[in-house]
Symmetry: D2
Subunit: 363 residues, 4 copies
């Protein structure tokens, strides 16, 4: 399943940046879940470019529920959401037919698809495809919330600005939802300034984002190849801009002694908790009931206007490349709702595997 | 497939630390591949405790080829390797029946298996299970080598010592193979001293390891959920001690501008190469023909002799825990051949998916 | 993957009879395959009701290529075909909200989806969904034909009429393609008369269909759970009307001695052949190079106008049911292109698994 | 997963007829299920040759529980059962290295594995592999029985003898369990005589077997590719000797009108039932709560002593073949416990998918 993820609940992505539409199939979802179109639209709007710090290509993201929804609820059969492409300017990309943008997928797509790939706007590799993830994730997010499970992603570090890490998650999610950028502390202006500075210099910047999940039962995940870390990692690396992931204290654990790194277990109000959470809520691949927390490295957007060295892979020669299209100087703000959505889909699948296909249904 | 990984070639792990045996099923491998028992034994010996810096539980790792091998070659049908458990001292672990080792899987196993799990020596969560991975990976490693694909893992950072990162890979693999510890530079004594110091203090240490792969064709991997980064991550997070992974410059990319992070493409001897490799050989989830390089954070071993705070999860009360069994003060040396083996299995699967089931067969 | 089939190439179905559209995702197909819209339309027209022997609900089956096609060829990324629903008369089905049509999926859908299923026109269980299979299969059929592999399905037995079984396949496919009904012999009038007689009596009829495949290489399939028989069976039982399948002489083999049932191998023009083909081209789950031939039992359409005994499953009481909608008195003609399409998709997947993802690409 | 079946619970087969052992991995089974070694041994003994009507190769089928069992119960981690091969006479098979037994897998294995397959005793294609299925299935069978779900398989037709079809299932299972052959009526002598007559003439016979399942909840299975018919078919076609399957009235439905074929729904003691069961308990791929009943065609064993025409596929020439090894003149008796076991594994998987991984655990 090349463009699919999941076992009991599966998500399949399709579409090209400049084709008729992008979209998603969400199969195996419990029947009877509310499908709240306003909430889907809200989440899509958070992924959408919306200011001087984003690309000038703005779409309405009007979406169509093609199947799997009846009278406002999921039917239990495949749910398809179609998001037509609008505001397409293919001419911008014509030069990229044979010229590889450095650190982009142009060359690797050529090697994989032998020139038959749709090159317009990155084709199937476009960030545009993530709109389908966001739409599908919004339905899953509300299903999880009904079970007391909350998921959010914020910018932890970008352009010199540093956000507070998740600790309590629930209250921090509230803070994030109230801001224009997904951050806990009041660092929006700082981030925006850094992005605009990069844009000014025809450049781009990256950063680190952090996802927190609270309310998950202990006992989710598998010992070896379906460790929750493994399953979540596979999901988030779908996003080309993500180049690293760490759970809990992550790479910081490499510098600690066991006595400093271990999370002591304690009883609290009759529940088992840990007094620290350097494991990020996962031991041996399985949730321990503490918040699941992980960080991801987001590289700077590879499409920049500065002149770069590259090759014309059809002609087989070195060339210079100066991009003229509309590009994001940073995707770090827009990537947060995508990661949240991905995680929501993965967690619904994990819960369905463990507790059955009707677990999320309000019966 | 809970303890399995792969699509065309699949690996399934089984066994408990103190049961009759641990082992592995490797299914879908091309027929006709040499099965070199001496090489398997060599790789197993590199995973085995072997000095004062390791656990005192040493096993011979005698293995039995149960199926899938005929006249010294793979048949193409499921290959099973059984590694009987020896030198088992279950009494050591009796106290752990209800007491959760901090940051270990004791508590999460309880929540998942409701007390039916085998608690002796960590049961199915034991690092002992990785012997099966190493045995299976050794066969895959030789199959890859026959195609010019080389894989190795070394300690990049541990206890203050810093190794050279992979650059050329091929020559560096030679250096690693010649040493007592998997390192490129002469830092073995430094690492060993750090491990022994931790042991002396009834503590443990972690570190960072790095895997390099060279010789892979461009075009391997998929755009979204089967990105090579996603597939490799899912594999390595099978190992409980790994808490982070980053490809190429990874988290370092978060601090760079696009103009600093992008890898310029260049023509070299008629081939497309990049003049830097901050992407770790992967663009858009797909190999670009440069070495695939990634780092992993290894947390300090959670089983330490120091007294720790924890809970008795059956009694539901706080207790102190002083472990008395035989434990590794560091697994960082032993984890390297395990990761190499995992990666070899994953890559054989990727090649079989792309080029067919007979690709690795010497026809 | 609940509505998906395949490993290297996967097909996912979606849609409801009276929703906006039905459709299909075909993922993993080789890049560069021609997408012949006229041929897709032709195959769809063969599935479409077209005379007095079919339902009065006729749709144009206008289809839209949403993704995965660029400049008339497959890109290698997910190919989505959308077939909007037209000519929908939902009022016909309102009574079925709580009343189970005997031998139809109304009651089982209720037990599975708890009343959240779309009941209009059978919802996701409607035969209308098979339009997606036919569209996807048409692309695969032409890809196979380019490799010399031909697939066809004909009515073997219906309403007293008996067709000639496949022997040579290639020439017989020619005969089938030339007729109004998928039959080899001139028995169309006979079948049509039988269907109309059943319709006249407010009843329905079934029959036996036969699929033949020629040109497959020997060595396709797996020894146990991915035997070609198992893979094909799983595919065709997707169609609710099919209640039996037999390969080669099938149930007839149960009456024979081994000496009568075995197919002697012979050398012919340097190739290994069998002088009979009672095995249907498959030994031990794997193709032997002879035509793959199998028969399927098609039950009479369960939706009939005659008054039938059933239950109102919401009220929990016995009721009588007299259907008034538009129904097929027989689906046997329309099911043939669906089975052919399914088999084409399955075989493309088998070939891609064995020979790699580019096997079908014209490079 | 080439030798595996299942999604939440998976079964993987391994081993060769003349290798060290055959065996099975059963992964994903609920923790806490009793593992009754005497019952496993009983089911294995029913698969074992045991009289003049069977092969002279008799093994004790001593089995070893390698993993996944602790204190007599499943742990929830992979359960491996190893059944060592004994009584091996490889010399018998040496002639088959290059000579294809008609309708056996010798030639197709050669085409698939290029001569690297283990040819001794049929290698991985040997019926011996089914011992693993029976052992795994015995554990599942008892887990199902604890939930009131019963599965049995009997000979419906063989050598002119005709058994009673399943109607009540529960009481009929009792009758079958009490007999020397798996039959409901007293037709053992008749079948045995037919088998011995075939043996006398150096020939073999087949027949038809029937499986019945009672106690399944309604709502199990999926609308399209995971229809229960599809899932069960894929499982039983793993057995090379099975060449056809039909559910309920199966091929007989092809001759009926809808009014004759449909099963009227009725209320009975507050439950929905059907007054007939020509659908075999499945509508639209999903269980309706009635017994699931299906028939399978078993071809006569292909290995017969009579001289047969075939080819030497290495030399590429026609040859005559007179087998001298030990072979079953009929496998129909021995195949019944294998099919029952397969069905038990498949149903446990279906239940775990629907109701969660702990559904079968006695918590």
């Amino acid at each position: 399943m090349k463009n699919s993820i999941g076992t009991s609940i599966t998500m399949t992505l399709f579409g090209e940046s400049h084709g008729p539409a992008v979209g998603v199939v969400l199969d195996g979802l419990a029947p009877g879940l509310p499908v709240d179109e306003a909430f889907i639209a809200k989440r899509l709007s958070q992924r959408r470019p919306s200011g001087p710090a984003d690309t000038a290509r703005v779409e309405q993201d009007r979406f169509q529920l093609v199947s799997g929804v009846y009278q406002g609820r999921t039917t239990g059969t495949p749910l398809v959401i179609l998001i037509p492409n609008e505001n397409v300017r293919s001419a911008d990309y014509s030069q990229l037919r044979h010229v590889a943008r450095p650190s982009h997928a142009d060359y690797t797509a050529q090697m994989k698809y032998h020139g038959f790939q749709d090159p317009r706007g990155g084709g199937h590799f476009s960030g545009r495809i993530t709109a389908g993830i966001v739409a599908a994730g919004a339905i899953c997010e509300q299903a999880l919330a009904a079970r007391g499970i909350r998921v959010a992603t914020h910018i932890l570090r970008c352009g010199g600005a540093e956000d507070a890490p998740f600790t309590d998650v629930v209250s921090e999610i509230g803070a994030i939802e109230g801001r224009r950028f997904p951050v806990i502390r009041d660092i929006e202006a700082q981030i925006e300034a850094a992005v605009l500075a990069a844009k000014q210099e025809q450049d781009s910047i990256g950063g680190v984002i952090q996802t927190g999940v609270c309310g998950l039962p202990a006992g989710l995940g598998e010992p070896w190849f379906d460790s929750l870390e493994g399953v979540l990692s596979r999901a988030v690396f779908a996003i080309g801009g993500i180049k690293g992931i760490e759970f809990g204290a992550g790479f910081g654990l490499a510098e600690l002694r066991g006595s400093q790194a271990n999370d002591p277990f304690r009883m609290q109000d009759g529940r088992v908790v840990t007094s620290t959470n350097r494991s990020g809520g996962i031991n041996g691949g399985i949730t321990n009931g503490m918040p699941v927390i992980f960080n991801m490295a987001v590289k700077p957007t590879p499409s920049i206007s500065r002149t770069q060295q590259t090759v014309d892979f059809t002609a087989g020669k070195d060339v210079d490349l100066s991009l003229t299209g509309r590009h994001d100087p940073a995707i770090i703000r827009r990537i947060c709702p995508v990661v949240t959505a991905l995680v929501c889909v993965v967690l619904c699948d994990q819960l369905a595997l463990r507790y059955g296909t009707d677990y999320l249904t309000a019966l």
